[in-house]
């Protein structure tokens, strides 16, 4: 017998279950492909720490009063969360769209904001889990976290911003080249000039200005404040701007999903 019609109250339960199912599908994808999703970012982070923190750190000793390896770790955590949250979601959505199986969720009763939540969860898990493992590996050398809640809050905001950006990029991309274009032309350069490996006030122009114009710099600085206690900008302002950016990007992603931007004819 066909299912009886449901009322609006039951629909809320239906949607919550649907959204959770999508989230669990996305998170399962991350865990089942862990050699492609979790291992590489952790290894990359460890290599960065070994080369910059170990080899170069031996020359530099300290920067803004913080041991170099400890100085770069917060930035590496931001880079890991941002890069992995972005890459996971843009790839997952691009694949679903490109191979057509996105119709499975597009025909479902899951509303746009809960679709976004479902799709974002995979990237958030991948970003945060990779960063956690990297932090645990580095902890014996980099020391403990100065302000855990501040560090956590900055990394949560980083995850939200880049997970939502990844979803938008996955919707936008019509080819694999387009899909990797954003990562290589926008995300990687922004991450590299975000003051992960240096303190901007020690650089000459135009690098100092470029760094201060880079939004990721403020996430790095806030995370560094939380992890080491050292910072250059106002953390309240940095996190405030990051929170507004996260809200704006999430709202944009919901709007685009509602309109079926590049998903529906």
């Amino acid at each position: 017998m066909a299912a009886p019609p449901v009322d609006s109250r039951e629909l809320r339960v239906v949607r919550r279950r649907g959204s959770w199912a999508l989230a669990s599908r996305e998170m399962r994808r991350v865990m089942s492909l862990w050699t492609q999703t979790l291992l590489p970012p952790v290894l990359t982070g460890v290599i960065f720490l070994a080369i910059f923190g170990g080899a170069l750190g031996g020359q530099l000793r300290t920067i803004v009063g913080v041991e170099y390896l400890r100085f770069i770790l917060p930035g590496l955590l931001v880079m890991t969360v941002a890069g992995q949250a972005f890459a996971n979601n843009s790839t997952s959505l691009f694949q679903a769209k490109n191979e057509g199986y996105i119709e499975d969720v597009l025909t479902s009763p899951i509303p746009p904001w809960q679709l976004l939540l479902g799709y974002m969860s995979g990237g958030l898990l991948r970003g945060w889990l990779s960063a956690l493992v990297l932090a645990l590996v580095a902890a014996p050398f980099a020391g403990g976290v100065d302000q855990p809640w501040l560090t956590l809050f900055a990394l949560v905001l980083t995850g939200l911003i880049f997970a939502a950006l990844g979803v938008i990029t996955g919707m936008w991309a019509d080819s694999f080249d387009q899909h990797s274009f954003i990562a290589s032309v926008l995300i990687t350069p922004l991450a590299l000039v975000a003051g992960v490996f240096y303190a901007p006030d020690r650089l000459g122009q135009p690098w100092q200005t470029l760094t201060r114009l880079d939004p990721i710099y403020y996430l790095v600085d806030a995370t560094r404040h939380g992890y080491t206690g050292a910072h250059e900008t106002s953390t309240v302002t940095a996190l405030g701007v990051a929170a507004v950016a996260a809200a704006a990007i999430i709202a944009l992603a919901v709007t685009l999903l509602r309109r079926g931007w590049r998903l529906k004819a």
């Binding site: 299912a3 199912a21 057509g100 499975d104 025909t107 009763p109 309109r259 079926g260 529906k264 004819a265």
Partner: protein
């Protein structure tokens, strides 16, 4: 385009499985796919929509199921507006699209389970229903296999099974037997007949096989250039267009 006529009683719209009123669709490239299409499929009916490629069948199905953008106040599924009440409307629709797209990260069983869960079923309930459908569609031996390892016919069966997981009241099948061998086609026919008779599911079927439409459908509509040009039973259509079978009527209507 006129608004929904006020003389249409709410109960008439509520009782129809699918109620479409003067629906138009212009794609971004300027293609006019639907030109004021109106269609009324009574609840419980096995309905066939026949027309050549590019006549608007898949566009209509896409608009009903949420895959193609649609205007509000034009399409109702059991009285629910597919735009303004998208969630409630979609819960009642199961669609097996023309092209086979299955999630390659999931196994055959998981394709069904996740689909059920996207439609709000609990984990256990979705697993039970998936098992049932795997049995019905003779896929029980392939539960752990990824869809891209299945044969074309099996993938087609899985697609239809997926459309049925959440027990929709309106099942839309867009050319379900395209590329399927005769034996399997007959099996699908017999399953669809059982489903329609025993579960009171309304079925909207598009097909290019006129003998399939003749064998299964109680009522039919011919669609051409985005408009319904004729509707009725096979007998009524044959009577109107002449000939001895549905094929003759169809060829004459599309002339």
């Amino acid at each position: 385009m006129s608004r929904v006529p006020t003389d249409v009683s709410e109960s008439e719209r509520q009782s129809a499985a699918l109620w479409v009123h003067e629906l138009e669709k212009v794609y971004g490239d300027g293609t006019l796919a639907l030109r004021g299409l109106s269609l009324h499929i009574p609840a419980g009916c096995f309905f066939g929509l026949l027309g050549p490629n590019g006549s608007g069948k898949s566009t209509l199905i896409g608009m009903v199921s949420g895959l193609v953008r649609a205007p509000a106040d034009r399409i109702f599924v059991f009285g629910r507006d597919v735009v303004a009440q998208a969630g409630l409307a979609r819960l009642q629709v199961g669609v097996a699209p023309q092209d086979v797209h299955l999630d390659r990260f999931l196994s055959t069983r998981e394709v069904l389970e996740y689909h059920g869960r996207y439609f709000g079923m609990g984990k256990r309930e979705a697993a039970r229903r998936a098992g049932e459908l795997l049995e019905v569609f003779d896929l029980s031996a392939k539960t752990r296999v990824k869809p891209n390892r299945l044969s074309g016919g099996m993938r087609r069966r899985l697609l239809i099974a997926r459309a049925l997981v959440h027990s929709p009241r309106l099942l839309i099948l867009d050319e379900p037997t395209a590329g399927v061998d005769l034996e399997l086609r007959r099996e699908l026919w017999s399953y669809l007949r059982r489903l329609h008779q025993h579960e009171e599911t309304t079925v909207l079927l598009t097909t290019h096989y006129l003998e399939e439409a003749e064998a299964l459908c109680e009522r039919l509509a011919f669609i051409r250039e985005g408009q319904i040009i004729a509707k009725g039973t096979t007998g009524q259509l044959v009577e109107r267009y002449g000939g001895s079978a549905l094929e003759d009527a169809y060829v004459e209507a599309m002339r």
